[in-house]
């Protein structure tokens, strides 16, 4: 019975989760779910409650109120069933530093109940997958940050868990290492439910199917990265770079167009940015105008929108929840 339930339910289901530390509320009434085959990006400023939420999902912290179901099991009631199904990379990828990577992974495999040949195979497969090859016999404390992180990843995927939870997996890595970790995540995404926290916004665009944003312990956005970008005031804005001087009348005539909310730039700058009202596409009107007026244009392009700006706007204001990008 439980097996059937586990397959039909969402892989992770968080319902009205709250966590108080004394008088301080770290997580306030947070609800969301992650399905199998989905990568959910968990965004928020530092101290927003991301790690606390993850610690409650993985059974490290007990929630003050609310519920967490993982693969159909309640974390508070059946913590071991939940922990068996989760691969978890805690923030900073803690590991027993004086052990070698192999010894450490052997230990994890032993705790997870693998023995004999299967244990050796699991460890070898995890080493291979996390690309640890050359450093497996060195003590973890002597490894570089990138390799330490990979040891943490290897530990998390050793038992091929259906659910993977990673707290800032690419934090502090160089661009190449970030790329490798993202590739690995994308590779595993097909048959797993993955929850990753990050404050790097490009990461959301690069690997996540869906994103949620949390600030001051409150969930503020739940939608796709595209919906998130669409909330930018720069979304669908048109940037025009002129050859030489900007024509004197350009700004006024652009302002006169329907659907144009504002024009930024002007005197001294070599380009103008035309902001649409309500994020609608204005590129046709702008190009028509440019042709009619005979402007000498070097380049003209449509802005996708800036995640930073949306992120700042959402997280510094805390009243409304944005679902599916509605403003």
């Amino acid at each position: 019975m439980t097996r059937v339930a586990a397959e039909t339910a969402a892989a992770i289901e968080v319902t009205s989760l709250c966590k108080d530390f004394g008088a301080f509320t770290a997580v306030r009434d947070v609800s969301f779910e992650v399905r199998s085959g989905e990568v959910l990006g968990f965004l928020g400023p530092n101290g927003a409650g991301k790690s606390t939420t993850m610690k409650m999902i993985t059974g490290f912290l007990a929630p003050t109120r609310g519920q967490v179901q993982v693969a159909g099991f309640d974390v508070s009631r059946q913590p071991l069933e939940v922990k068996r199904r989760i691969g978890y990379l805690p923030e900073g990828a803690p590991a027993y530093d004086d052990m070698t990577a192999t010894a450490f992974l052997e230990f994890i495999a032993r705790i997870r109940g693998y023995r004999g040949r299967e244990r050796r195979e699991r460890v070898a497969a995890a080493i291979d997958r996390a690309n640890l090859g050359s450093v497996v016999h060195k003590p973890i404390e002597t490894l570089s940050k990138g390799f330490k992180r990979r040891v943490g990843l290897a530990q998390a995927i050793l038992h091929d868990p259906p659910i993977l939870i990673m707290d800032e997996p690419t934090d502090g890595l160089d661009p190449n290492q970030k790329h490798e970790v993202r590739e690995l995540i994308r590779e595993m995404a097909r048959d797993k439910a993955i929850l990753i926290s990050t404050h790097i916004l490009e990461e959301v665009d690069a690997i996540c199917d869906r994103a949620i944003i949390i600030a001051h312990g409150t969930l503020l956005f739940d939608g796709t990265p595209q919906q998130l970008v669409a909330m930018s005031s720069l979304h669908n804005a048109v940037r025009i770079c002129f050859e030489g001087e900007i024509p004197a009348a350009a700004e006024t005539s652009l302002r006169r167009l329907d659907e144009v909310a504002d024009v930024i730039g002007g005197t001294g700058a070599d380009h103008l940015t035309v902001l649409p009202g309500n994020g609608v596409s204005i590129v046709r009107q702008v190009t028509h105008l440019a042709r009619d007026e005979g402007w000498q244009i070097e380049e003209l392009f449509v802005e996708a929108g800036q995640l930073d700006e949306v992120f700042r706007r959402i997280t510094t204001r805390t009243e409304t929840v944005h679902r599916g990008g509605e403003l």
């Binding site: 610690k55 490290f60 912290l61 071991l80 922990k83 032993r110 705790i111």
Partner: protein, 244 residues
């Protein structure tokens, strides 16, 4: 149980992977040897027993065992590995037991390495080996009691020095429980039942009765229930303090 075994193996291996094991064993062997012959006067006594050897164990353990136990949980909390450990599919009880058993097995190894003293006494005279064996067992049980205190205290702090000092003080109280130095603190204000209870928990008196060669079930029960109670407190402390 396989999880407890995995932790036991890792922890025990960890002692030997660092200089801790060798420093501890060498110091323990040297000091127990020195104390046996100089203040203990093994030769001068002219008796083929190991009384002078075992007499000093409670005092050696008093500062050596907190040094062994102080890292058990404090280090995990300081390094953040406790988050890793407690999100693996093991119960807190299994983790507590695994760590305790590793440290206990380690003291067992250190104790076993004192065998030259036993060889010496057998060479010198007709030793009462059953009593010596029983004394070893008593010493081992007492070491477990010190360790249980130390492991529990270690779970309350992420600072190993604090863990050491507090464990030392608590163990000191239990060594001397029943003696005026400790009892005077309680007499006069504490109810009679409490002072009786404290004086009955003296490590020294339980250990001495074992080393006399008398198997008294009460001594065994004392040490095992003492260990059990502190390990229970240890598990509760881990639950409460793990995320601080």
């Amino acid at each position: 149980m396989s999880a407890t075994g995995a932790i036991l193996k890792r922890e025990l291996g960890n002692y030997f992977a660092t200089p801790v094991a060798y420093v501890f064993i060498v110091i323990f062997l040297v000091l127990s040897g020195v104390f046996t012959f100089y203040p203990g006067g093994l030769y001068e006594r002219g008796q083929a027993d190991l009384q002078p050897f075992f007499t000093f164990h409670p005092w050696l353990y008093l500062f050596l065992i907190p040094a062994l136990s102080m890292r058990l949980w404090a280090e995990e909390r300081k390094a953040g590995t406790i988050e890793l450990l407690m999100t693996l599919p093991i119960s807190t009880g299994e983790a507590v037991l695994g760590k305790f058993l590793a440290a206990w097995a380690f003291t067992g190894i250190a104790l076993a390495l004192t065998f030259p003293v036993w060889l010496t006494i057998n060479y010198l005279g007709d030793a009462d080996n059953p009593v010596i064996l029983l004394s070893y067992l008593g010493s081992f049980l007492m070491a477990g009691a010190y360790l249980a205190v130390g492991a529990c205290v270690s779970a309350f702090t992420r600072n190993q020095v604090i863990a050491f000092v507090i464990s030392f003080v608590i163990c000191f109280v239990f060594v001397l429980a029943g003696f005026p130095m400790v009892m005077d603190v309680f007499q006069g204000w504490a109810p009679q039942a409490l002072t009786n209870a404290i004086s009955s928990m003296s490590f020294l008196s339980h250990f001495e009765s074992v080393t006399r060669g008398v198997i008294d079930l009460r001594d065994l029960i004392f040490f095992f229930s003492f260990i059990g109670a502190w390990l229970l407190a240890n598990a509760i402390a881990v639950e409460i303090k793990k995320s601080d």
